[in-house]
């Protein structure tokens, strides 16, 4: 569990420090060429995080530490690509994945295209892993419970991530 703690500590650093603006030199796929993004965390959405676009208001992505979803997640990062936009190999990295909410099925995360942040230089990039075993839509609740929904197509899903939750 130490690694998860590290990531969360790093994300906290990324949220708190003065230099919290992350520069995505390549933009994010599908979201134009907006470069400046910032991480926000709040009690309300913990353990999730918002990555908000500073160039375009109202544009934000929900992120999560992948190891909370897939504990064995060990992505092989494209070091050369990362070096090209200024990642330093000895800097600590923050690895997060994008959460997508769906109307008709449980929330998924994109394990194939993690968002990587060099926490010291505050450069960010969404990489696409070579490893085609990594799904783009992996159920946030874990593979076990939702295998049917995400491999097959027949069973309507019973639980929705968007159902209202009553807190006790």
């Amino acid at each position: 569990m130490t690694e998860t703690t590290d990531v969360m500590t790093a994300s906290r650093a990324a949220c708190d420090t003065e230099k919290t603006v992350i520069d995505f030199a390549d933009g994010l796929p599908g979201l134009g060429d907006a470069r400046s993004w910032k991480l926000f965390e709040s009690e309300e959405i913990r353990p999730l995080l918002w990555l908000r676009c500073l160039d375009r208001p109202n544009l934000s992505l929900l992120l999560v530490d992948p190891r909370l979803v897939a504990p064995d997640y060990r992505p092989q990062l494209p070091k050369a690509q990362m070096a090209r936009i200024g990642f330093e190999s000895d800097h600590p990295l923050l690895i997060l994945v994008v959460v997508a909410l769906h109307e008709d099925k449980p929330a998924t995360v994109n394990l194939r295209a993690p968002i990587i942040v060099d926490v010291e230089s505050m450069r960010g990039m969404q990489v696409i892993l070579e490893d085609d075993e990594q799904p783009m839509r992996y159920p946030l609740d874990g593979r076990d419970q939702h295998q049917q929904e995400w491999t097959g197509r027949s069973e309507p899903c019973s639980s929705s991530a968007e159902r209202p939750v009553s807190q006790s």
């Binding site: 994010l28 796929p29 599908g30 979201l31 309300e44 959405i45 913990r46 353990p47 999730l48 918002w50 544009l59 934000s60 992505l61 929900l62 999560v64 909370l68 994008v98 959460v99 997508a100 909410l101 769906h102 929330a107 998924t108 994109n110 194939r112 295209a113 969404q126 696409i128 783009m136 839509r137 946030l140 609740d141 991530a161 968007e162 159902r163 209202p164 939750v165 807190q167």
Partner: protein, 72 residues
């Protein structure tokens, strides 16, 4: 050779200049393009997440952790 299908060749050496040719089957570029498009699609889906749904999902996640006996 890079992999089985991509070849890098020195095409010409002239004085200080070297021309290099890269041969790759079209599907290599196409596959990258498709991947990029799929990531774009998931990102576009993701930016539609609303604050309330995010909070509900977060609450579910925290609940799940508690069930497992981890710190909330």
């Amino acid at each position: 050779m890079i992999g089985e299908e991509i070849t890098v060749k020195v095409v010409e050496v002239r004085g200080q200049q070297v021309r290099i040719g890269i041969e790759a089957p079209p599907q290599v570029a196409v596959a990258r393009e498709e991947l990029h498009r799929e990531v774009a699609a998931t990102n576009k889906q993701a930016v539609r997440a609303r604050k309330e749904s995010a909070a509900a999902l977060a609450s579910l996640l925290r609940g799940k952790k508690r069930e497992k006996g981890e710190a909330p």
